[in-house]
Amino acid sequence: MLKLFKMWLKAGQLTTSELQPDMGTATLELEKLNQLTRADRKALGRSLLIRHLDVGSNNAEEAELVALSSPYYDISRFGIDFTASPRHADVLAVTGPVTRQLKIAMERTYTAAPKPCLIVAIGDGACYGKPYGKSYACLGPVDQFLPVDVYIPGDPPSPAEILSGLLACKKLLGQEHLVPGTGAR
């Protein structure tokens, strides 16, 4: 036990302070959180619960989402967290092109999520169906089936890019007259 505490203390802070997620308006340096505009601060003040939904991904986007919860990125310091059930979700983070055998599960998950619920397509597979195209088992990008609000393209997008997209979700949810499903890039 003493050994554990010793390692614990020795490890110190592993979380990066160099991340520069793009807030859409201005680049935000985490070190300078006190210099935020009122609007940014208001948007950041809300919590955001994400339900991850894999509809046919290749495991790269999943790996980056897992990385976001690692001590290096520590996504929970932005008030963002992953939830086990779609019933608690503000956001469905969808990865991969939609496969035939996941279509029903995808629709059910969407139905289970309380509205308004933002849909974020993460990665080139979810955004454009790339590089797979279509086949007897692969149906295409997510926005052919669900109303996508935020697109985070990339192969896969880096954790910083995903974080930027999620912060954009916070801004969207902060808007007074939000109509989910109208789309934002």
Binding site: M7, L14, N59, A63, A67, T99, S135
Partner: protein, 535 residues
């Protein structure tokens, strides 16, 4: 490390020939290490089973695949003969109307999933085998639409319907079923797991996979081979480089070309970097499932460091877009290599502290020891590969057993652990991490000069000649089988990933003397990619 000589291969062929009564229809020795036989359909199964049972040959089942060659189907079985460090392909022709062969799975259980997959996708019947659907779920109508046949009309793809899966679960007083998935609670890929339990005790466990089945092999048909390389990199994110490597090595074998030594060493470095990332991710997951948050977070941090080194070395965190047919598209910069050398030394030091901590925390060891037991015999029968097999005492590693191309640069000490439990599979990974760090450091320090790309002679990419690429990925052996058609387009591409073989290991290990809370731990001790298996 020497390849088998022509004499060895002739001797091998003479030995194998005895198992077939009728003369072989064709026998080809492809130097340095691939023997291809064609046999009569009637003798296929019997001969294959005899070869598999031959202790001297010491055969390992690799894969079974079908090809629609328009006029007929062909069935190809691949073994690795450990005695000779040679790959053996046995093929046979099946007629288009009523394609049937005698099932292999009663004698070679490892072939069961492949038989079911071929039945689903081609409509080729393994007589006496298991005909339950596997890759295509139950809503796909049987008996008319076979998507991997060349004449399949995509416009006639049947409607999606909701048809529940059927699980063979015992019923009775006090027993109930726990259903998990396909959408899981954590950030993992989709699959449906079903437990039959009494209280906490698991009686039976089964998994319905292939939810992320995208038909990638079908997508490759008629595509230029370099486009299929992109598809290969996108079979799985965790094993992207291993897939890329297996594919390029297959094409390079077909072109009969020597790749510059510098490129081979770089590839070896990147392959081991991918192994490190994957193993750290596995170790993090095992600690997390075992309730050891600090160790899990540290391992996740190690993984992040590796991914950042990958970014520096290759420009991509998952090593996509650096490997190509003929070598590397770009070289890692000298600066990134020096940095990696320095970082790995520091990482190695931190990792030994981590190891010390984990192996001295009794509450954690109590969880992992004796959970998820898988016997060596079961591992053998199911044809398990990689750390899962080595954790059950199976001394198999392609880096040693198939010393070809990139593997020649990786003379590893194969780590084997006998107990067959979660602890054992974890120990294999811990030791492999140390081995990989030392391999990468050694390779960077002894990097040869020269170029790292040489174009292949494209005129040698002839049609109808099947080639294979074998790579020991982080999860185990990975096989890409490629046959080109006209204009250097891919005619048939088959991927046999390590998770495809190991999933049945998870099922068996979970069913032992385990309780429900141990199921995630057992699962994480294999930590298989669904995307790799589903394709």
């Amino acid at each position: 490390m020497s390849h088998p000589t022509q004499q060895d291969l002739d001797q091998l062929l003479a030995h194998v020939e005895r198992y077939f009564e009728k003369p072989l229809l064709n026998a080809e020795l492809r130097l340095p290490n691939h023997v291809v036989l064609e046999v009569e359909p009637g003798e296929f199964t019997e001969g294959v089973i005899k070869i598999y049972a031959d202790a001297w040959l010491n055969a390992r089942y690799l894969t079974l695949l079908a090809v629609d060659e328009q006029s007929h189907f062909s069935l190809h079985l691949l073994f690795l003969l450990k005695s000779h460090k040679v790959a053996l392909s046995i093929r046979t022709k099946l007629e288009r109307t009523n394609p049937v062969y005698l099932a292999l799975s009663p004698s070679i259980p490892a072939a069961e999933w492949h038989e079911r997959e071929i039945h689903d996708l081609f409509g080729i019947v393994p007589e006496g085998g298991d005909l339950r659907p596997l890759v295509l779920h139950r809503d796909w109508p049987r008996g008319e639409h076979y998507p991997m046949r060349r004449d399949f009309n995509e416009a006639l793809t049947p409607m999606i319907q909701e048809v529940p899966h059927q699980f063979d679960m015992p019923e009775g007083a006090g027993r109930h079923q726990v259903a998990v998935g396909p959408i899981h609670a954590g950030i993992i890929e989709p699959g449906h797991l079903r437990f039959s339990v009494t209280g906490e005790h698991i009686h039976r466990f089964d998994a319905q996979l292939f939810y992320t089945h995208k038909g990638i092999e079908k997508m490759s048909e008629g595509q230029p081979y370099l486009d299929v390389l992109t598809l290969a990199e996108h079979v799985c994110g965790m094993c992207a480089f291993a897939h890329s490597l297996a594919f390029t090595q297959a094409i390079e074998t077909l072109a009969e070309t020597e790749i510059p030594k510098r490129a081979v060493v770089f590839r070896a470095i990147l392959l081991e970097m991918e192994r490190l990332a994957s193993h750290f991710s596995d170790l993090s997951a095992i600690c997390s499932a075992g309730g050891f948050a600090f160790a899990s977070a540290r391992a996740a941090y190690f993984r992040e460091l590796i991914l950042q080194m990958n970014q520096q070395l290759s420009g991509h965190r998952f090593l996509r877009g650096i490997n190509t047919v003929g070598g590397l598209l770009k070289e890692p910069s000298g600066e990134s290599l020096t940095q990696a050398l320095k970082n790995l030394a520091e990482l190695g030091r931190q990792f030994s502290e981590w190891r010390e901590l984990v192996l001295n925390t009794d509450s954690f060891l109590d969880r992992v020891e004796s959970s998820g037991y898988l016997s060596q015999e079961t591992a053998r029968q199911l044809g398990l590969v990689g750390p899962a097999a080595r954790g059950s005492g199976r001394d198999d590693d392609m880096r040693r057993d198939f010393p070809y191309q990139v593997h020649t640069q990786l003379p590893v000490q194969v780590k084997v652990s006998e107990q067959g439990d979660v602890f054992s599979r974890m120990m294999v990974r811990i030791e492999e991490v140390e081995e990989s760090i030392s391999q990468v450091s050694r390779l960077i320090a002894t990097l040869p000069g020269g170029v790292s790309f040489k174009p292949i002679p494209e005129q040698k990419l002839v049609p109808d000649k099947a080639v294979i690429g074998i790579v020991e990925s982080a999860k185990g052996s990975l096989i890409h089988w490629v046959m080109l058609g006209e204009k250097q387009q891919v005619y048939r591409w088959h991927v046999r990933s390590a998770p495809y073989m190991n999933w049945r290991g998870v099922v068996h290990a979970t069913m032992g003397q385990n309780i429900v809370p141990d199921a995630p731990l057992v699962n994480k001790s294999f930590n298989l990619c669904y995307a790799c298996a589903d394709r």
